[in-house]
Symmetry: C2
Subunit: 604 residues, 2 copies
């Protein structure tokens, strides 16, 4: 039943050899990996305007140079990450680059922030997408948590089905969004040229207004939230079709050009139209309404925007399982994140991500907007570490043209570090949590690593040592005289000459009866009877094993052979005391004895 249900949801299992077919071409990769970055257009400009409006309408002029600065930062990031892709063709996420060049601690900081960040991505994006829907249909407002959870479940199933299939499903809305925004920008510019706009202020007016450096920096850092998601491509190189680095670099360039044009276009239109940020209407909505009126085109743009916010979460579904795999391979996360599921995805990573983000959505009642700055700072910390790692790499290897490469990454590192500091400086009240959870995550990583190393050391075998054959004492707990017991004794006699049966009785009468029956049957092995005053079987049995352990040769094995009958239907188990299971569980966990279960299958 469970497997049929799973089959319907997830699809038939796929062969390991099919893995090549799962790889992404450029256009599909753009769809899978860019939704996080491109969706930032939906709120990037608005974040800048929201900060500036605090200093009055005249200050909105500053959005133009700030957007230019963000665009410049995007160019720097794209060029830097292009270098990383070619330097790390097998996947150059911040974790790998930091591990390779900076050592263990920085790599774990990068890996830890990214993992938490992907969880935040899913929670924030699904909540934001829900907001876009409930703004259009206010009656759905009370069901917002349910809607967000349904989206998370939908994404989980899509990703469990496998990367390529989800790429096919996701490509349509993403290209729809890109086309819609470009149509909006071109029509908007045309509209502005023909009808003119309502720009709030000129350069000169703005210069005269009281805009502090702090405010400009804060607005700039807010605008930088538009850049989250750029790293997705470099993390996911192993998912690309060959030649992977070349395809990944091309995808990154495409994404950068599309993101940059959309962002600067929206920012300019917002300034030209004199758009002011509003609690009830988004900037995109205002621009679209001015350009097209409330026409079909307007609703198309709004719909595509809502959709892409949901899909932004999907980027995390590509990135999280892969990063978790890498950390698990390096023994900082549980091995289970390395297991490929029926459809070749890392199912445990996908499910873990879904559960954690669903918990966040429920805990914050779907109001996860306050997590956005936290989420941005969680991206810029690994950005910085990755650039720093690349710098050290060039200094160490000194390949052809290394000075230019070093210069590029130095600029990248300084910029991203500055932005991280600006974030912490201007938005400390929203990002302080990072200084709590990062240490916790790092502690868990190191504890897990220590456990695995300890285990490996204890399990290491000396290949040259001889195998010692020891003696074997067999103990059979019996509850009565049945075929199961007879079968078990016959087996025990094949594996050892020293076999003893133990009967634990609750009163003298039952013990005497058992002894009489045993004598009459005479199976050729000794029966030891023990009276249990407290009606426990495990207690007396444990004491008996202790005695045997003390008496036997130090090197001998002790085997407890447990007779167990297996019912034909699972529910029939409720009709039988599960003593054999209890004994087995207890012995395996607490005693150094070997446990053998001899099954007896009931056939009706």
């Amino acid at each position: 039943m469970y497997s049929t249900f799973k089959r319907i949801l997830i699809g038939k299992p796929r062969k390991s050899a099919d893995i090549e077919g799962e790889k992404l071409g450029k256009l599909k990769a753009l769809a899978v990996l860019s939704s996080d970055a491109l969706s930032s257009v939906a709120y990037g400009t608005e974040q800048i305007l929201l900060v500036l409006i605090a200093a009055g309408a005249a200050a909105l002029w500053y959005s133009v140079p700030i957007s230019m600065a963000v665009l410049g930062l995007l160019v720097i990031l794209i060029i830097s990450y292009r270098q990383t892709i070619f330097a790390y063709p097998s996947g150059g996420g911040a974790y790998i680059v930091a591990k390779d060049n900076l050592g263990r601690a920085p790599s774990l900081v990068a890996g830890g922030s990214l993992l938490v960040d992907y969880i935040l991505t899913v929670a924030v994006s699904s909540s934001a997408g829900t907001d876009a829907i409930t703004s259009a249909f206010p009656s759905l407002h009370e069901h917002r948590i349910a809607i967000a959870l349904v989206m998370i479940i939908f994404l989980t199933i899509m990703n469990l089905r496998g990367v390529t299939e989800s790429a096919t499903v996701l490509a349509v809305p993403i290209y729809l969004f890109v086309v819609a925004i470009f149509v909006l920008i071109i029509s908007g510019v045309f509209h502005y040229v023909v009808y003119g706009g309502g720009a709030a202020a000129s350069h000169l007016e703005a210069a005269a207004s009281n805009v502090s450096l702090f405010l400009v920096l804060k607005a700039f850092s807010s605008g930088c939230s538009a850049l989250t998601g750029v790293e997705a491509v470099s993390n996911a190189i192993p998912n690309f079709r060959d030649p992977a680095p070349r395809n990944a670099a091309a995808t990154l360039m495409m994404m950068g050009i599309i993101l940059g044009s959309m962002f600067i276009g929206i920012s300019l239109l917002a300034f030209w139209y004199g758009v002011r940020p509003s609690a009830t209407e988004t900037v995109i909505s205002q621009i679209a309404a001015t350009t097209f009126g409330r026409s079909t085109m307007y609703y198309l743009i709004q719909g595509a925007t809502a959709l892409i916010l949901f899909l932004a979460a999907n980027t995390a579904y590509s990135a999280f399982p892969l990063l978790a795999f890498m950390l698990a391979k390096d023994k900082f996360m549980p091995h289970m994140f390395m297991v490929r599921g029926d459809r070749l995805g890392y199912s445990n990573g996908i499910i873990f991500l879904s559960v954690m983000s669903a918990v966040l959505v429920i805990a914050f009642h779907g109001n996860t907007e306050n997590l956005i700055p936290l989420y941005a700072v969680g991206v810029f910390i690994p950005f910085t570490l990755s650039q720093l790692g690349m710098m050290l790499r060039w200094l160490k290897h000194k390949p052809a043209g290394w000075t230019v490469k070093l210069a590029i990454n130095t600029v990248g590192m300084l910029t991203t570090m500055s932005i991280t500091l600006i974030f912490i400086f201007t938005k400390f009240s929203q990002v302080w949590v990072v200084f709590i959870f990062l240490p916790i995550v790092l502690y868990l990583f190191t504890q897990i690593n220590r456990h695995y190393n300890n285990t490996a050391e204890q399990l290491r075998v000396n290949l040259d040592s001889e195998l010692v054959i020891k003696g074997n004492t067999v103990i059979i707990p019996v509850a009565g005289l049945t075929k199961v017991v007879a079968n078990t004794i016959s087996y025990a006699k094949t594996i050892s000459d020293q076999v003893v049966a133990v009967y634990v009785g609750f009163d003298d009468e039952s013990i005497a009866k058992m002894e009489r029956k045993w004598e009459r049957w005479n199976p050729g092995i000794r029966l030891v009877t023990i009276k249990s005053s407290y009606r426990s079987i495990i207690g007396p049995l444990r004491k008996f094993i202790d005695t045997v352990q003390w008496k036997k040769g130090k090197e001998d094995h002790i085997t407890v052979v447990i007779p167990q009958f297996v019912t034909k239907h699972w529910w029939e188990n409720i009709l039988h005391n599960q003593t054999s299971l209890l004994i087995r569980a207890y012995l395996i966990n607490y005693k150094d004895v070997i446990v053998t279960t001899v099954p007896f299958h009931l056939n009706k």
Copy 2:
């Protein structure tokens, strides 16, 4: 942690030999066994009046003869049950008597109705007690389900602690209730003699009113709900201190006298005072208010009434586990109901009763009053069967004075059967469910019985047959070269000469690597490698076992020896794939092979 928690709630485990100390003296037995019967006083009279008022105030006069009839029925029941107690000194519940004299089907009908009835008792009594509390404190009304559940949990813990201790706790409120009601009756009669009353109608007026026979019968059957719980004593004879039958009979007589006096006293006062049933105030409350005014005495009576309704549920806690034990012993219910817990009570019966009644309370939102007729009919069916059984017993054994005894039980049987028929005839709309659930319960009983009989037959061993010693082929699934594996191979070699290791790899590379390592190590046994295209370990392993099973001598055992390492802390298990557990669970349930687990305990 679990065991500490259990120790605090339930107390220290007790020796089986302590069981004699758990037995009940007469006064404690009265406290434990009579609360169900005595609490009926709180609603018996009211049930009669509620039916009669439908025919007008004049009809209330009929409550006097009807109460007398109920009293007569009580006398018949007490005398009949007294005979049962002496005839069945080791416990003479309806189930035992019916089994002994009527055969299997009637005994299961009796046992089934009683079991369901005890569950109803707990649900109805805890809800009714809650109503008494919330009538006094209306602000608690919205928490009524929670209050009823807390009471059920409290009773569960008391009963898990053991019978004697709960008897001590329960004796106080029950004797308080008895004293309070007698004070009320005596003062009430005195008050009536001095101040006179307001009797609604005389005999002559009543005779003139339009009271149908149907209505009188309905009122009579309603009044009979006051007799539920009388059977408790005869079920519980084994719980009595020696001489058990004598003590039990004395307890039954005491209970009958107390119940009869209280019931007739309340009924007479209700008639003399002209009390009319009201939706907002109980009959007891009206009588108490008239006699004492709203004084301390009034609140004492109300409080004691509420308390005893809760405690009525406790009767079921003595009776249900004992009946379940008897049915389990006869293989009609799962064996688990035969296990004595740490404190010598039948814990599984206690817990099952609590869970089922809690489910009823939740399902009916605490409004279980409609279940009262169902509950009454569930008592009178086994009453009738028990009397019928006694009749056949006298006819068969013909002891001294058997004709008188037969006459008594014949009268008893005819009366209880008539009442059962009256119930079904006058209240069919409320009791039809009994014709659904009784067949279901009977079906379950027979299915369970069939399973146990089938099992016993399959397990039966021929004591004279010889044990055959067979060959043994050992298969070791290995995942790598570790100390655990080395240890396992060394063990396997001690138990058989035919040992083979199996490695399931997911790709050619890992298989080749494993083969190289094995060759270099050379542990003296053959390694078989299998490639798994679908990343499943169990699938290929199963196929390999099938092949071995096909090749080996038909009579040989196959043992799968699974290496397993045991972590020091349970939570560390999350860091390891539980493949060995999965393999074991699969093999035990689906293959006819012996499974041995060789543990390797990590010590850090």
